[in-house]
């Protein structure tokens, strides 16, 4: 009994007064409150670490012909082999790695572009705003997949070009979001205050305004990440994305274009398909939970 009260006391200590709680801790507490998001985070964590550790845990070289072709899953080839005898598990691990890389890099590029253009348009207004936002509207109103296909046709398809292509078409949403936030933040007293204090423009844009709009950017970026991964899969599936022999989740699905594979060899397309679904759903749940957790006015 005595021991119980002691451990109880210990438990109470970290839960200090809410005002003393650091912001990150608060966000984390609210995030974990979303069960689905917490599970998603674990699932995504497992997938990401498996992808990162691929060179260590993959049983075979993904490019090597390791056994008989088109074998169903067995003891030595857990997920079977593909039509030319490469180990599916190893390929799947490396493919996840490539797909995540494409997603993260494309998201980073589009976020950087969107944030920069949004800040400039929102803060300076006037002609700069007009030009940037009309350009944004233009990019947004283009039939998206067509643009990507054309771009992929012009530049040599491959890992780098698909990252760049996706990076340069995904930014308009972020630019609009940032611009909208900046419009409001520009009129706040603390921004006026730093003007009064003679702070340089760089400080006002990046140290006063930007940190106040990080939360919505982060939330939006998660959906961009999910979209980029899907787009990569779509492009690679159509043969315009990551080129074989490099494996990506999309070009692994490519094999399923043939009817025999689709009907008789499900181990060739089911795992990459499932991984894509898991990644995208997990990212979307995490994004949802982040939105609630980061909301400064959210329920305490």
């Amino acid at each position: 009994m005595k021991k119980d009260t002691l451990s109880e006391k210990k438990k109470h200590k970290p839960a200090r007064h809410p005002a003393d709680e650091s912001y990150l801790r608060l966000v984390f507490r609210r995030f974990v409150h979303h069960r689905l998001a917490a599970v998603s985070l674990i699932v995504l964590g497992v997938i990401v670490s498996a992808a990162l550790l691929a060179p260590i845990i993959a049983p075979y070289d993904p490019q090597d012909i390791a056994g008989p072709f088109a074998q169903p899953p067995s003891g030595s080839f857990w997920l079977g082999t593909d039509q030319i005898g490469r180990d599916m598990l190893s390929r799947l691990l490396y493919a996840t790695r490539i797909s995540l890389l494409v997603g993260v890099m494309a998201t980073a590029i589009s976020t950087a572009i969107g944030v920069l253009l949004g800040l400039i348009a929102g803060y300076f207004g006037g002609a700069a705003d007009m030009i940037i936002m009309r350009f944004t509207d233009m990019v947004m109103s283009f039939p998206y997949i067509l643009l990507v296909l054309v771009a992929a046709a012009i530049f040599r398809p491959g890992l780098v070009s698909i990252i760049l292509i996706l990076g340069f078409v995904d930014w308009p949403g972020i630019a609009r979001l940032v611009r909208g936030n900046v419009l409001g933040l520009r009129e706040t007293n603390f921004v006026k205050g730093s003007l009064v204090a003679g702070m340089p423009l760089r400080h006002i844009l990046f140290s006063e305004i930007l940190p106040n709009t990080v939360a919505p950017i982060l939330v939006y970026a998660t959906s961009v990440l999910a979209l980029s991964i899907l787009d990569e899969a779509a492009l690679s599936f159509l043969g315009q994305g990551v080129q074989p022999p490099t494996a990506s989740l999309g070009n692994m699905l490519n094999g399923a274009q043939s009817l025999t594979v689709l009907t008789t060899q499900p181990w060739l397309w089911l795992p990459p398909g499932l991984i894509i679904i898991c990644i995208v759903i997990a990212i979307n749940f995490i994004g949802d939970a982040l939105r609630d957790a980061l909301d400064p006015n959210g329920g305490k």
């Binding site: 005002a19 912001y23 207004g125 009129e187 706040t188 007293n189 603390f190 006026k192 205050g193 003007l195 009064v196 204090a197 003679g198 702070m199 340089p200 400080h203 140290s207 006063e208 940190p211 106040n212 990080v214 400064p296």
Partner: protein
């Protein structure tokens, strides 16, 4: 002797659908070293626009279209941005009406104060932190060390205004513009903040422009008072004199709206009937005429400022000509 701040014919306008509307009309005044000048008037008569124009903060749609603002002999409105940035913050600073939105919500208090100190002095992080602690205790924050670690939303309005003052003081300004610094605070806190400003002014021989509509504050703080109405200065006098002998009918009416403790039930509080006219720049004559009980035909002619005795001017022909 030249003044610390001298404003000449400052005129500011806002773009509107029906053309520019002039909200500050040829305002001229000066502030000397160590002096507290109060700018009083109803809402919407151009007090805040005047102060924002001084700082070059009018924002979208607004512009200073005439006049000059000399600070230590240099025109703030016509200097390069870099020099303005140096003066703003170092020698000239401002605190705003609403302390609740004046601090950046995503940084701790300490972070914001040290940031401001370092931007102006080039002190090291540690020195800046020490100075910030000093400033916080100077503005009467009880537990400076703890406060440094707090985020703005965990502090009350009065505390936040104290922090704003600490930030404003971080670079030893020579002139502080306080735009209704206590309007958003309750009365007891208001008194504390005003006492603080008074003390700081004495300690540092700092000049202050205090913008308010609270006559009580004016009596408590001011050396000189500028009464504004509809974009114009209508009376300018040393504080004692203004309270003893208000000349302009508007000033008198304004003083009559203040309850005093000796009132009991003998006097009914006087309200000034009507409101500040909206497009007051279109009125040719006296802008207060519509609401003035003493109005005559002469009031439809434009009114100029009449100088009375030392330092007292009034924009009313009738008041200037009548004996005390």
């Amino acid at each position: 002797m030249s003044h610390l701040l001298e404003v000449q014919n400052l005129t500011a306008a806002f773009a509107q659908e029906q053309g520019a509307s002039i909200s500050v009309d040829h305002v001229s005044f000066y502030v000397d070293q160590g002096e507290v000048v109060c700018l009083v008037g109803e809402s919407g008569c151009g007090k805040s626009v005047t102060s924002l124009s001084l700082m070059g903060l009018l924002g979208k749609g607004g512009a200073v279209i005439d006049g000059s603002v000399f600070f230590e002999g240099k025109d703030l409105l016509r200097m390069p941005q870099a020099e303005l940035d140096r003066i703003r913050g170092n020698e000239l600073t401002m605190i705003f009406q609403d302390p609740l939105t004046s601090l950046n919500p995503v940084f701790t208090v300490g972070n914001q104060i040290t940031e401001s100190i370092r931007a102006h002095t080039g002190l090291s992080k540690k020195e800046a932190k020490e100075r910030a602690l000093g400033l916080l205790s100077q503005v009467g924050m009880p537990d400076a060390k703890e406060t440094m670690k707090k985020y703005p939303h965990t502090l009350s309005g009065g505390m936040r205004q104290r922090i704003m003052i600490a930030i404003a003081l971080s670079c030893n300004p020579r002139l502080l513009i306080a735009d209704e610094p206590t309007t958003a605070l309750d009365v007891t806190i208001q008194a504390q903040i005003m006492e603080l400003l008074k003390k700081l002014r004495q300690d540092r021989n700092m000049s202050m422009i205090l913008i308010t509509h609270d006559i009580g504050l004016v009596a408590n703080m001011a050396d000189r008072v500028l009464v504004m109405y509809a974009g114009q200065i209508i009376e300018d006098a040393p504080a004692d004199r203004l309270f003893a002998q208000p000349k302009h009918p508007y000033t008198r009416a304004l003083l009559n709206t203040v309850p005093t403790i000796r009132d009991r039930d003998r006097r009914k509080l006087q309200a000034i009937s009507g409101i500040v006219p909206e497009r007051y720049d279109k009125i040719t004559g006296c802008r207060f005429a519509d609401r003035c009980p003493y109005r005559t035909d002469a009031c439809s002619a434009p009114q100029k400022l009449y100088a009375l005795s030392a330092g007292h001017t009034v924009r009313c022909a009738a008041a200037a000509n009548s004996p005390a």
